[in-house]
């Protein structure tokens, strides 16, 4: 039995199955947009009742896009696509590489676009003139001498017949990329307080610890706001990679949302932040240029060792419920006169004048930066698939395989020929008709040829 007659093969090669799978995928995909995904089991019991929740768990509805049956549908879809391609591609390939000079001459008389001319002259000489016409209109011609005369052939975009297969292949690329990503990659998150480093991240969902193989340190985190004081404008972390195995550690990089840092295939995305209790403080004595930088907790009196200076943050005003500090109240004493109390904006520098000296006091709240940590070795395969899909769609939709033959036949009466100009296009017939008309025009305007 030929593979093409096999019932199972025919089933998997059919477009009917493709339509069915596409529509089933479309309708079942709706479920996951109506029923919230990836919530804990209690959520579903509360929202839908015990029995419905049990039913959902059975069908993996709370995580339906990774469920056995949804993956199964995608698998069916892929098998369909592969079998369908194997089934049809050989024939299409034949069309692409076909030697059209061997086309059955009878068939030329039945082409959808035809025009017949007569001309006196020798077939080879006429072929030369016709080749000139073809070249002028952008057709590169091949020719073959037949016993009856000369056949000229020219085609455009034969390979465009493969466009559809590029689209189908691109879908498989995307699937392969997605599978590679889910098997060899991970999605994780981690919070790193300013000044700290971590060499692990926590897998999203499972909270499993994932070793990174190097450390990443957060040197600085900053959130800036628009003039309205509420809308965040930019979240920025300065990250430093610490990797003892690397010859040359990469330079620190500022990351913002939409501009991550990638190192050894692992990418760190700015995703959130958490205000911490405490402040980064820098004090500079403007006279002696002595400088003291440290992290201090809220509400404690901190001495500057070796001097009489002591200071602390004794009050704070928060911007939002998250606990971002807007303003803070500082207590400062350098042993001269009275202690100095003042409010300052977070993340600014204030000048302090005591009876004997001036200081610059800089304070900013300590933050932890929230990073998404992702490794996805499949993403480039997915992107290659996407590019291939766009190119393939363009080719499949807008290019067509156009063919033109000119058959110059010697008539019985010597030195006289019949010329058949004919052509066909696999798509976009209207555009081809115009092109064909333009070519035929060359014949009409040349006095050598007379309309039949």
């Amino acid at each position: 039995m030929k593979k093409t007659d096999n019932m199972v093969w025919r089933f998997f090669a059919s477009v009917r199955l493709a339509l069915f799978t596409l529509l089933v995928l479309a309708t079942t995909s709706i479920i996951g947009t109506l029923i919230p995904q990836k919530n804990p089991p209690e959520f579903y019991i509360e929202a839908f009742g015990q029995r419905a929740a049990q039913f959902f768990q059975m069908l993996d509805v709370p995580n339906m896009y990774n469920s056995w049956w949804f993956i199964g549908l995608l698998l069916l879809f892929s098998i369909n696509l592969i079998v369908c391609t194997i089934d049809r591609l050989p024939n299409v390939w034949q069309m692409v590489v076909l030697n059209n000079l061997e086309t059955d001459l009878e068939r030329l008389e039945k082409m959808p676009h035809r025009q017949v001319y007569h001309a006196s002259g020798d077939a080879t000489a006429l072929a030369q003139i016709v080749t000139g016409f073809l070249v002028k209109k952008g057709w590169r011609a091949q020719s073959e001498n037949k016993s009856t005369g000369t056949l000229l052939f020219s085609q455009k975009h034969a390979w465009s017949r493969l466009g559809v297969y590029a689209v189908h292949l691109s879908i498989l690329f995307i699937f392969v990329g997605a599978i590679v990503g889910s098997l060899l990659g991970f999605k994780a998150g981690v919070m790193i307080p300013e000044g700290s480093a971590t060499s692990t991240a926590y897998e999203t969902g499972s909270e499993k610890t994932i070793p990174l193989g190097f450390s990443v340190q957060c040197d600085d985190f900053n959130v800036s706001y628009y003039a309205d004081g509420r809308t965040p404008k930019e979240f920025r972390s300065t990250l430093k990679i610490i990797d003892s195995s690397a010859k040359e550690p990469p330079p620190p990089k500022n990351i913002i949302v939409n501009d991550p840092l990638t190192y050894k295939g692992i990418t760190f995305y700015q995703s959130s932040y958490e205000p911490m209790q405490g402040f980064n403080v820098v004090i500079v004595n403007k006279d002696t240029k002595a400088r003291h930088a440290l992290q201090i907790p809220f509400g404690q009196k901190i001495p500057w060792p070796g001097t009489e200076i002591a200071f602390g943050v004794i009050n704070q005003e928060t911007r939002s419920r998250m606990g971002d500090i807007n303003r803070l109240k500082v207590w400062f004493y350098d042993g001269q006169g009275e202690p100095i109390l003042f409010w300052m904006d977070n993340n600014t520098t204030q000048t302090i004048s005591s009876p004997t000296a001036t200081y610059e006091f800089q304070a900013s709240q300590v933050y932890a930066t929230g990073l998404q940590v992702a490794k996805d070795p499949g993403v480039w395969t997915v992107y290659a698939g996407c590019t291939l899909m766009l190119i393939g769609l363009y080719v499949a939709f807008f290019l067509s395989h156009r063919r033109i033959w000119v058959y110059i036949v010697r008539e019985e009466s010597a030195n006289h020929c019949r010329i058949l100009v004919c052509g066909v296009s696999n798509k976009n017939k209207l555009a081809f008709e115009k092109e064909f008309t333009a070519l035929v025009e060359c014949f009409t305007q040349d006095s050598t040829f007379t309309n039949a």
């Binding site: 479309a26 995909s29 709706i30 947009t33 949302v257 993403v379 766009l390």
Partner: protein, 280 residues
């Protein structure tokens, strides 16, 4: 002149253009055609100027960004896309009747935009990306083509019903014949499908650069995929099973319902990453 005045002018101009096109269809006054086209071009220019002005105003406020980032701005851009897709078709098919089935969508989009809050608000960090601009532009050109295709679908069904009941009505006689309409619907769907595909892809690239996942099955993403499946099925039904006529006309309408849900419904009925587009 500020951008909201321009948007107001745009709304009325689209509405007027739509009425003119419908007038041509109903009263068989071909002479109005020129004015309808002129009105559409005028509306389109006002729309373009309005978008440009809003861009300029956002820069004046010190928060400059391409005005494509909330429901109001996207509706305005949707109207713009419908107008340009339609004008392209009018030139290509040399047929003004299509306007009666296209321009009402542009007017409707502007009217809906008028119901939204047009305040220029600064962009949150996730939206500050060139991929967002590419994403919105590609998606909306696709959506606009689908809107026009569904309009043609309605036109086809009207004309076809007449053929079945065999009434004679000069009104429907002036519509393009069924074979031409069918061809236009198909070509418009193909055009839209290419742009929708590009829209989904640019969205995925954006998500990957912002969050490290190109696909997270959030409701809006999922609905765009559902829409994509519907149109993919439509193209296959036509290309390989020879479906045409009424069936494709219906699928063009069903597909557009799915587009509307992806674009509008998801924001209000479901929750997800994209819900910033809602309310607004």
């Amino acid at each position: 002149m500020n951008s909201s005045q321009l948007m107001g002018i745009t709304t009325f101009a689209y509405l007027f253009a739509a009425i003119l096109y419908i007038g041509i269809l109903v009263f068989q006054t071909k002479k109005l055609g020129f004015f309808a086209t002129l009105m559409t071009i005028g509306a389109f220019l006002a729309n373009t100027a309005g978008i440009g002005m809003r861009w300029y105003e956002s820069h004046q406020m010190g928060i400059g960004y391409a005005p494509l980032s909330n429901m109001y701005e996207s509706l305005v851009f949707f109207a713009w896309s419908i107008a340009i897709v339609y004008l392209g078709m009018e030139v290509r098919y040399k047929n003004r009747i299509l306007g009666a089935f296209s321009m009402p969508f542009a007017a409707l989009a502007m009217i809906l935009a008028g119901l939204k809050n047009p305040d220029i608000k600064p962009l949150i960090p996730a939206l500050q990306s060139n991929w967002l601009i590419a994403h919105v532009i590609t998606c909306f050109i696709g959506y606009a083509a689908f809107a026009v295709a569904s309009g043609m679908g309605i036109m086809y069904l009207l004309k076809d019903r007449k053929r079945q009941t065999d009434q004679t009505s000069s009104l429907l006689d002036s519509l393009p014949d069924l074979k031409t309409s069918d061809d236009i619907i198909h070509k418009t769907l193909v055009f839209g499908f290419l742009w929708l595909t590009a829209g989904i892809i640019t969205g995925a690239v954006w998500a990957n650069s912002a969050w490290g996942t190109y696909w997270s099955w959030d409701p809006k993403e999922t609905w765009s995929l559902i829409t994509w499946f519907v149109y993919a099925a439509t193209l296959h039904a036509r290309f390989t099973k020879g479906w045409g006529g009424r069936r494709i006309a219906w699928l063009a309408i069903i597909g557009f319902v799915s587009v509307i849900f992806t674009y509008y419904g998801v924001n209000y009925l479901l929750s997800g990453l994209h819900s910033y587009g809602g309310g607004g």
